[in-house]
């Protein structure tokens, strides 16, 4: 199932183990390779997935992996988008070459979400991974430890994924097939700082002159959030931010505010 990219804010190891097992288990029968990717020794990590594929042994040999990310990355240095996308791309290719139908992983991203600077890079990287997911046989559950990460950190990490559990979030920003990204949920006065940060992080390093946002699943957007997009367009030198499929209400606000760079496209 392309595009399956969720975020879990987990309260303890038991919750992580339960959710990870369920996430991976459901695709084993579809002939997918599954992996748990975490930090520390492989023996300890195996504990998170030791029930996956058992007890009836239906899964293929080599279908269940554990990966210590310490072997590939540093905890205090978020890989840049190209590096992480290449990592998952090669892993996906290897799974397909070995005869599996897809690669499905649970990744504990907790260390990369600690600290604001690190998290900024994580948000940028994770959005590129989200785009990669759309077009490849790769699905992922990213997990964050709620005992280590505070709520703003969990909120930012969760918002950059298409869906989340363990934390209630007002909106999500995710990759889209025919727009630069899609928004989902509600944007109002109380989500402005989060929205501003998510948009800036997701767009960091982008060079296009126009931004197209799929707003079909945005159930509410206020004028402050539209001004965030107008200011982003000004600062990033964008000619235009096109809101595709936004509501009549959003169109009214754009008109009232005389926004010069935010435009409506196919108002619903």
């Amino acid at each position: 199932m392309p595009g399956d990219h969720a975020y879990l804010a987990y309260a303890d190891d038991e919750e992580l183990r339960t959710v990870a097992t369920g996430f991976l288990e459901e695709c084993l029968e579809l002939g997918q390779q599954v992996a748990y990717c975490g930090w520390g020794g492989a023996d300890a990590l195996r504990g998170y997935v030791d029930v996956v594929g058992r007890p009836d042994g239906r899964s293929r040999r080599g279908a269940v992996h554990v990966v210590s990310l310490d072997a590939y990355f540093r905890r205090d240095d978020v890989p840049d988008p190209a590096t992480l996308v290449r990592f998952w791309s090669e892993a996906t290719s290897a799974a397909l070459a070995a005869g599996f139908t897809a690669l499905r992983v649970v990744t504990d991203t907790t260390p990369w979400v600690q600290g604001e600077r690190s998290r900024t890079e994580f948000l940028r990287t994770e959005h590129r991974v989200d785009r990669f997911l759309l077009k490849h046989d790769f699905t992922q559950l990213c997990a964050g430890n709620a005992q280590v990460l505070d709520e703003p950190a969990l909120a930012e990490a969760g918002c950059i994924h298409p869906s989340s559990s363990g934390i209630t979030l007002p909106f999500h920003l995710h990759a889209s097939h025919d727009a630069d990204f899609a928004l989902e949920g509600e944007l109002d006065a109380f989500t402005v700082p989060l929205f501003e940060r998510i948009v800036q992080s997701a767009r960091a390093g982008e060079r296009s002159g126009e931004l197209v946002i799929d707003c079909t699943e945005v159930s509410f957007v206020d004028h402050r959030s539209l001004l965030v997009l107008e200011h982003h367009a000004e600062e990033a030198g964008l000619r235009q931010v096109a809101l595709r499929g936004a509501s009549h209400g959003a169109a009214s606000l754009v008109e009232l505010l005389h926004l010069s760079r935010v435009r409506m496209e196919a108002v619903r």
């Binding site: 007002p170 206020d222 004028h223 200011h231 009214s252 009232l256």
Partner: protein, 326 residues
């Protein structure tokens, strides 16, 4: 009835009301103003309803330099009208007009419009347009205008055009007639009014709603009241802004009440604060300076739905979706 010739000085806004009793009376008021303006080679701006345009059609046909804007109806919003008029006057002045004659009629309950927004408009015009070289004549048809509206008309217009010979016509703006009230004082002391729907128990009452909860409640109530999609969207934007304001600037607890009928939704948001100190809040946009993300809330609300503010026992904002009046 007549409105005496007035020498309007550039840069001075003259705001007068003319309450007419008959169609002939209407012609008597409008004709001299438009003719004097045309004779001085000044532009006139006309914002009248269809019937009034019909009545003065002959006059309009013989004077030149008249700019027509659409007549105001119950669905017009005062903040939007202020924006349109300001742009029109600015444009005419930029083109060299030394004086502008502005003949208009304002919606009120007699024509199906909620009055609160328009009485705030009439009071605020004295301040918001004060630097414009405009002579505004606001026409009210006595046959259709409720008495309490006429009382507010007296309080909000420094000049009253009345029957010739009663001594008021032509009074200088500095010699305001005795019933005229300072606009800020008028606006801050408006007596609480209630929508008839409020006589019943609200269908929903929420203490300390989140913005998301307030939007959800209103969406459900609006669906039951058969509001159009656009009306629902606008009411939801409005309630979100009002609840945001109450949470950020008011004093808790914030209480939202919702009433609905087959074609209307009325809701109030109350907090225990004193409300915005600016008497003209909502009628003009804030400056776009700074981050540009604050201060638009009530101005946007005022553009979208009928709104009234009650500064009594805390601060209450009332919003109406669907038909402005029962």
């Amino acid at each position: 009835m007549s409105v005496s010739p007035v020498s309007v000085q550039p840069g001075r806004f003259l705001h007068e009301a003319a309450v007419y009793d008959s169609d002939d009376d209407l012609v008597d008021v409008v004709a001299p103003c438009l003719e004097a303006s045309a004779a001085a080679d000044d532009p006139s701006v006309v914002v009248l309803n269809e019937h009034e345009v019909d009545v003065v059609r002959d006059v309009l046909g013989r004077v030149g330099n008249v700019h027509f804007l659409p007549g105001l109806t119950a669905s017009d919003r005062p903040a939007a009208v202020i924006g349109r008029l300001t742009a029109t006057f600015d444009r005419l002045v930029a083109r060299g007009a030394e004086r502008v004659c502005f003949v208009n009629s304002v919606p009120h309950p007699g024509v199906g419009a909620a009055w609160d927004g328009w009485r705030r408009y009439e009071a605020a015009a004295n301040v918001l347009f004060r630097d414009l070289p405009v002579r505004a004549i606001c026409l009210y048809d006595r046959r259709a205008t409720p008495a309490d509206v006429l009382l507010d008309v007296e309080r909000t217009h420094p000049r009253l055009a009345t029957h010739a010979g009663d001594g008021h016509a032509g009074a200088d703006i500095r010699g305001d007639h005795p019933g005229y009230l300072d606009p800020a004082a008028f606006l801050l002391s408006l007596a609480p009014e209630h929508d008839p729907l409020e006589a019943a128990s609200p269908v929903v009452e929420v203490i300390e709603p989140t913005t998301a909860a307030a939007r959800r409640v209103v969406r459900e109530a609006a669906a039951g009241a058969g509001l159009l999609r656009a009306q629902v969207d606008e009411l939801i934007i409005a309630v979100s802004e009002v609840v945001t304001n109450a949470m950020l600037h008011g004093l808790p607890p914030v209480t939202m009440k919702v009433w609905s009928s087959s074609d209307r939704v009325v809701l109030t948001v109350h907090d225990h604060g004193r409300g915005p100190s600016d008497p003209y809040v909502g009628l003009v946009p804030p400056s776009r300076a700074g981050t540009g993300q604050g201060g638009y809330g009530l101005w946007i609300v005022d553009q979208l739905v009928p709104v009234s503010y009650v500064r009594h026992d805390g601060f209450t904002v009332r919003l109406v979706g669907g038909r402005p009046l029962p």
